[in-house]
């Protein structure tokens, strides 16, 4: 028993090492004064200073975050409503069709989604830029949210709703006080998954950016043509720290919400 536990730990450690080593390698060289990733010369902050001096790069980072936040918020709203509609549909056939259509969008290649959006926007005369990126990000995030919320809805027992009705709850009460609190973990999971999808999406965004609006992944791709500069390393390092901070914050919030002592029921 003790032996297997040790083996398991070793395996786990190895997997994490492989997953994290490239990121730490990248961050390590962001402190290199040598200018390349080949040999470490001495410690420097200059690449971090370069990130903060480049206003255009910072604006692009902000743009990326704005698009991610807004698109996941809207996608979550639409996705939750969509999941509710799918679950409470009477017509079985229609319900299955809708579900399959949702799943097709998840597995279909980003390149195709991106190219079709480009054609759609240009034929409608929509200017490429913030709006086009936001709309397309909402579009590919909605199916993800639906997929995250749906299992929660399905596992919820109908008797909960019946009980609420018996106790005199109105339709609105049932939705806001029974269903939504129950599926809350699914909603948050959907939101965060949509957020990460939007932050790192390249293929769709590449097609629909324009008029000076760009996101980080598209910009880094263009910059990498002449070789990745260490500014990118520094930027990646900063983003990694922010991401770790967000994850820790999320856990802290979750923890607090669950401890019974402070547990004022909301």
């Amino acid at each position: 028993m003790g032996k297997t536990a040790k083996g398991q730990k070793l395996f786990l450690g190895l997997v994490f090492l492989i997953l994290y080593a490239p990121i730490f390698f990248l961050i390590f060289y962001s402190f290199n004064s040598g200018g390349t990733m080949s040999s470490f010369e001495s410690f420097t902050w200059e690449h971090y200073a370069a990130v903060f001096e480049d206003t255009r790069l910072i604006m692009i980072v902000f743009n990326t975050v704005i698009v991610a936040l807004l698109s996941s918020l809207l996608a979550t709203t639409i996705g939750v409503l969509g999941a509710l509609a799918i679950v409470y549909l009477k017509n079985r056939k229609l319900r299955n069709t809708l579900l399959s259509l949702n799943n097709v969008l998840i597995v279909s290649p980003d390149v195709i989604i991106g190219a079709s959006f480009l054609i759609l926007f240009t034929s409608l005369g929509v200017k490429l830029g913030f709006t086009s990126v936001l709309v397309s990000h909402i579009a590919f995030s909605v199916p993800i949210v639906v997929l995250m919320v749906l299992p929660k809805l399905l596992e919820m027992s109908d008797s909960l709703i019946d009980a609420a009705r018996d106790l005199g709850a109105s339709g609105k009460d049932v939705l806001t006080r029974v269903i939504i609190p129950y599926i809350k973990p699914g909603i948050f999971a959907g939101f965060f998954l949509a957020l990460t999808y939007s932050l790192d999406d390249f293929a769709v965004t590449f097609f629909v950016t324009g008029n000076g609006f760009s996101t980080l992944s598209v910009e880094i791709y263009s910059m990498a043509r002449t070789g990745v500069t260490l500014t990118i390393n520094a930027l990646s390092g900063l983003l990694f720290i922010v991401t770790v901070g967000l994850v820790l914050g999320y856990y802290a919030l979750n923890r607090r919400g669950k401890t019974p002592i402070t547990g004022v029921k909301r």
Partner: protein, 358 residues
């Protein structure tokens, strides 16, 4: 329910703050509300300080966007949706864009600084009388090599050196059909733009003799491999070679005497332009000798601006490898757009060559 609403509000507030921060940043990088132009350029191809200087001088704000390949750029321009005012395609792409009616003719009366450009780079076959384009940077295709790793016995003044059996598994080629097949044509003394099947057959046969020497056919990775001494000789463009040499002092660059490719990246005004007057101002600004010198210094490519040369480091300007003399330039040839059918044949030859490597 309450905490969901609270979370949603937090997201909205965070977004609003970021949008405000972005607007503030936008103000410092140029006057908001003033007229703007959108410049579509290769990544790392302009000194950002020059964009600020342009805004200060003219009051026109520059929206700057980058692309990584001629094809991607053309697709975006063709699709419309973005009002690009100035773009910087390579020479063969200009022919293609012109055929597709994607370019607006330039008004030379608005470009007085055109007189600073070396006449050698004007009125070229891909754009007679520079009706649509003005050269931005130029360069050659050649061989970058590491004399230390090769024992100093090659100078690559001839393509033949690459075929030396002693270089077995050492040569790196750039992954591009026109360049590799063109090298096969050049060594036999044929034109880079040959459409003659017999000549192409001969070039293919010559190239298969090179196959045992080829270590890899790759793209941008060449830069790092040469810088780290992982490879000793590579076929590449002069601009990339200059990048490599700035990091690794032991590297050298040569253009074989039989002839090679001469390439240009050129400023054009695409059909999508919304501010044609501003675009002319921008092109004229980039043609100013001081500006051109500063930009060439920043990017490290060769400038066609003859009056800028005097303002630059003489050591750079007199470097025959990047500013070859007229005699060498006579052997250089510019790519012509050969049409999709011929291009297919070139690609097919290149593919065949790649398969022979194994």
């Amino acid at each position: 329910m309450k905490d969901i609403i609270r979370a949603a509000l937090a997201v909205l507030i965070a977004s609003a703050l970021l949008i405000w921060a972005n607007a503030e940043l936008g103000k410092t990088s140029g006057k908001a509300g003033a007229d703007t132009i959108t410049v579509y350029n290769w990544g790392e191809y302009i000194d950002p300080d020059l964009l600020k200087q342009f805004t200060e001088e003219t009051g026109i704000r520059v929206v700057y966007e980058t692309f990584d390949s001629n094809e991607a750029m053309m697709t975006k321009i063709q699709q419309g949706g973005t009002s690009y005012d100035v773009a910087v395609p390579s020479e063969y792409m200009i022919e293609k864009m012109r055929e597709n009616n994607l370019l607006i003719p330039l008004d030379h009366s608005k470009l007085p600084n055109l007189k600073h450009i070396d006449p050698y780079f004007l009125d070229l076959p891909f754009d007679p009388d520079n009706e649509y384009s003005i050269p931005f940077f130029w360069g050659t295709l050649g061989i970058v090599f590491n004399p230390e790793l090769l024992g100093g016995q090659y100078d690559f003044s001839s393509w033949d050196d690459l075929w030396d059996p002693a270089l077995r598994q050492k040569v790196i080629l750039v992954d591009s059909a026109r360049e590799v097949v063109g090298m096969g044509l050049n060594i036999l003394g044929y034109s880079l733009n040959s459409t003659d099947r017999r000549e192409l057959d001969e070039a293919s046969a010559k190239l298969s003799e090179l196959a045992p020497n080829v270590k890899a056919i790759i793209g941008d990775e060449i830069t790092q491999m040469m810088q780290r001494n992982e490879a000793s000789v590579a076929l590449t463009w002069s601009g990339q070679a200059a990048d490599m040499m700035s990091e690794n002092d032991s590297l050298d660059y040569a253009v074989p005497e039989e002839g090679s490719n001469l390439w240009f990246d050129n400023m054009v005004i695409p059909k999508t332009a919304a501010n044609i007057d501003g675009a002319h101002k921008f092109i004229n600004f980039m043609l100013d000798p001081e500006v051109a010198a500063q930009n060439a210094d920043y990017v490290g490519y060769s400038t066609p601006n003859k009056d800028a040369l005097g303002l630059m480091d003489p050591e750079v300007v007199n470097d025959e490898r990047f500013y070859p003399d007229e005699e060498t330039r006579e052997h250089l040839e510019v790519y012509r757009d050969l049409g999709p059918e011929m291009l297919g044949i070139y690609n097919e030859r290149f593919l065949k060559f790649k398969m022979e490597m194994n």
